[in-house]
Symmetry: C2
Subunit: 363 residues, 2 copies
């Protein structure tokens, strides 16, 4: 079976985890700081806070931004819906807008229509690594006095106009989950330039306490979103070999592009103008009329051929947990997408086998 994702150690992963263990600094520690320093040094933001995962990173960003019950938060109706779920946890109202049917990123025209006087924030989710149309989005947010929180869980190292995704928002979040470009098993990061927000997030991350000042004094009702030093060590080792990881992700993407381009009825995600993409998940929209089966049927057949695939995210309007109006494009995109194994150590023969298998299901 070719798995959909597969973590790989590129260098000192095992060595640094063992160093973290040897130090007995197994909760906080110097690798957490090193991981945060990498983001401060490489992204145009003053503050970086490591978190236990990408979802707690979003929760921390929302707390830092002061999202309150009743606030409306606009996000795409087609994406991994972590930000929508965190909005519900905070008593805020997720409002969903359409995506572009080719880029699968927020449709800024439709976003504009969703703005009300209760809108507090907009969450561009850079799905599969593609970056939203940030020029239009930032202009619109500024004109309407909206906070922008970028969800870069899937877009680490993708660029828009020479700037990394995550360098645009007031606050931006990343994920280091096991399938991600850089992994710490589970982990995340929040970055911002705002000193006050950074300080609030630092408190919310660890019980609302500033231990340097007083132990057990809760300045605000904090949570625990801390990343361990052991996990951070893994991430630091991965970042040491980021060039190799990026190069191999490009290699895999280029091979797929060449092969998939020759298959009728298969359309790759269109990359937005001005984007220098680092794809996290290679996904295609299927014209099922040209195939022997439905999208889900194709996935089952691929599985039987030894290939693990994933469907597109369910559109918000297809799920029962949101009171969401119909979003026809999101729904269409959702039901026709299939994402293929995309990890950076995929061999050319594996990619050929995957593409040939897909092609063999042509009607």
């Amino acid at each position: 079976m070719i798995p959909w994702a597969k973590p790989h150690y590129w260098g000192r992963e095992v060595e640094l985890v063992n160093k973290a263990l040897d130090s007995t600094w197994i909760s906080g520690g110097s690798y957490v700081e090193a991981l945060e320093d990498y983001f401060v040094e490489n992204f145009d933001k003053k503050h970086a806070l490591a978190t236990s995962n990408g979802t707690t990173a979003i929760h921390l960003a929302f707390l830092g931004a002061g999202i309150e019950p009743g606030d409306e938060i606009i996000l795409p109706g087609f994406c991994f819906l972590a930000a929508a779920n965190i909005a519900l946890h905070m008593g805020a109202v997720p409002v969903f807008c359409e995506v572009d049917e080719n880029t699968w990123c927020m449709d800024v025209g439709d976003l504009e229509k969703k703005i009300t006087n209760k809108t507090k924030a907009v969450i561009p989710v850079h799905t599969y690594g593609n970056v939203c149309d940030m020029d239009a989005l930032m202009d619109l947010a500024q004109a309407n006095d909206l906070i922008v929180i970028e969800d870069c869980a899937e877009s680490l190292f993708s660029k828009y106009r020479e700037k990394y995704s995550g360098e645009f928002g007031l606050i931006s979040t990343f994920s280091f989950q096991a399938t991600k470009t850089i992994t710490t098993g589970e982990g995340g990061m929040v970055i911002t330039n705002d000193d006050r927000i950074a300080e609030r997030m630092r408190l919310f991350r660890s019980h609302g306490m500033n231990r340097e000042k007083v132990v057990y004094w809760h300045e605000l009702p904090g949570h625990n979103f801390r990343l361990t030093n052991i996990q951070a060590a893994l991430g630091v080792a991965q970042l040491e070999n980021r060039s190799q990881i990026i190069e191999n992700r490009h290699r895999v993407y280029d091979l797929y592009k060449e092969k998939l381009g020759k298959i009728a009825g298969v359309q790759l995600q269109k990359i937005n103008t001005n984007v220098d993409v680092l794809i996290w998940a290679i996904a295609v929209k299927l014209d099922v009329d040209q195939f022997v089966d439905t999208r889900d049927g194709i996935m089952t057949r691929m599985k039987n051929m030894g290939i693990e695939t994933r469907p597109g995210f369910y559109a918000s309007c297809m799920l029962n947990i949101y009171s969401a109006h119909k979003l026809p494009i999101c729904e269409k995109v959702s039901s026709t997408i299939i994402s293929l194994p995309s990890f950076p150590t995929l061999a050319e023969e594996q990619i050929n086998f995957i593409c040939d298998s897909l092609e063999s299901l042509h009607s």
Copy 2:
């Protein structure tokens, strides 16, 4: 400097972490299952769910119990206030009751006075390892139809009437933070006998998704409270040597008891009737009239002698983040307690030095 706490590897910690790394199952995996199995096998509960830390364990328990905005939740005004903070995150109302001035656990008589028709749950927090008066508490909860959620972050392996703390509540939570009896760096556990609550918590722990059924289908607005396989491996190794850990914690406690018993103006935590205690933190109430300085002054002087100590938790009524009425006993306990280094590898000479140092500050 003698630290307040110090993690120690008793056996296969490094080996099992490396096995987890080698497996490349760095997010979920077999060690997470083994850690959960240990709790199912050793505690009188059918379900155990590992979490990213003790605070997310409490959050998961509250979500599982269906705590809703406006619900009142009663907890002690003197304890580590994670449960109170999670209540605030969920829009619930933390209501604080007094503690007993000698056991520092919930005063069940005062608890009864705090019950209203909005009270949904009561949270016995087993502070420092002492177990609350569970007979009286469970009777009261049953008579008033209240959910009991035990916070056992500090009381793993302490027993009440031959049963472990955590075996009484509808849901119970544990912590494996770096200073705890069993550690995974950061980590936690939730146990329950209730099938429906367990299933809800399983969903809330991981995005509301049941991957076995459908990927990306959010059945409810889940969070991410998952523990990694790497951290779980550490915990599994610690549990293999639990007898040694427990034995050494008893050794340290017994040595302290003997030495501290001879110092006037120093009162150890009184252990509740029917409790077979495993102390997490050795704490004493100081009669400051018999010492050369205030409690905080004593702590500073101890630090200058090379001994790290911690103050008692701030009482809820001393903090600005809760709209809490005065709790004179909690406040008094809070301001007179000092907790001493309590880790299981403390040598007898270190304990003697700590006690002699404290005694030298007698007036």
